[in-house]
Amino acid sequence: MISASLRASPRPYANPYVAGVALGLVLLTAFVVMGRGLGASGAFASSAAGVVSAAAPEAARANPYFARYLGGDGPWLDWLLIEIVGVGIGGFLSALVAHRLHLDIERGPRLSRNARLLTAFGGGAVMGLGAVLARGCTSGQALTGGALLSVGSWLFVAGAFGAAYLVAPLLRRLWT
């Protein structure tokens, strides 16, 4: 099935408003079923806490940021970590049925493959810092906190998109 999916031509993406409403209903389902919203950066935090805890249990417990992920069922059964595993599975399945699975490095026409991997890594690292300080990312703050009308979440959105628009002209070489 996977090889058949790789050979067929990719289907066009869904209408963004339809996909957005569907995503909103998924978020609403999380609120109704769990009493909490979606997230992504929390999964990175709990898995980082899990690795630190395995390497240096004392240091992990002494660190207030990692320590909070070490209670309960432990960092590897954190709700957001399981949810993000689901995100990977869901994304894979959606791409599979729409013939959009393919191994590549997506990049601007002027960027080498290695340079793209480097900017992706660097961008991720900066977002990691930002998401820790902001207590969440585009999922936990923008979507979840946004729908709950949390002031801090809307402040995060304003900061994130404001900064992205400010630096985008300097980064034009990466994408065009």
């Binding site: 992504a40 940021y65 999922s139 002031v151």
Partner: protein
């Protein structure tokens, strides 16, 4: 009130993890089908060539917001039992600014990078790894950042509270802003572009 089910004890932690997986799969499916696993598509948001990010995110926020409001209003959902992220003004603004720089540089956000990676994009894998290292590094330096992290706490603070308007009015104004935003987005995408 019959919801939120987990908060009201309808099922335990094992059920919660099954819910996490199912909700995650649906989340990832929505993101991928909208094209949100593509860094070039997402970066188009910042050059005003492709406003998919804005349309998907804002319609999702509006849908969930309206659902919360009406389920609360008809008495199905006890909104006071839904966890609202607490507000810390300065760290969230600064964190947002840094996040935006990383987003423009990497072209994907944490959730969409997982979709990109799962669909075979190696730049998505690199971004997931970068994000993980960034969170790990910040976590290791956390004792030095803890004072900043705790600055300007405002607890659970919502837009209707600061604007001194009823919840329903705030919901209505956000819907109105979304509709204006969607119309503007369509006009921006439709305009002729030099060199395009």
């Amino acid at each position: 009130m019959t919801a939120p089910y987990f908060e009201l004890g309808y099922f335990g932690t094992r059920g919660a993890l099954v819910a996490a997986l199912v909700i995650g799969i649906a989340f990832g499916w929505c993101l991928e089908s909208a094209g949100m696993g593509s860094a070039r598509k997402l970066a188009g948001q910042f050059y005003l060539t492709d406003l998919t990010v804005f349309k998907v995110m804002f319609s999702a926020v509006v849908t969930a917001m309206l659902g919360l409001f009406w389920l609360g209003r008809i008495g199905v959902l006890d909104i006071s039992r839904v966890y609202v992220p607490e507000t810390y003004l300065v760290p969230q603004l600064v964190g947002g600014l840094l996040f935006g720089v990383g987003f423009a540089l990497g072209g994907l956000c944490p959730g969409t990078s997982c979709v990109a990676a799962a669909t075979g994009r190696l730049d998505g894998v690199a971004l997931v790894f970068g994000m993980w290292c960034g969170v790990l590094g910040t976590g290791l330096l956390f004792p030095a950042l803890a004072r900043f992290y705790e600055r300007t706490p405002r607890g659970v603070l919502t837009l209707p509270q600061v604007a001194h308007v009823p919840y329903g009015v705030a919901v209505f104004l956000v819907v109105l802003a979304a509709l204006v935003g969607f119309m503007s987005a369509e006009r921006i995408e439709a305009r002729p572009r030099i060199g395009a």
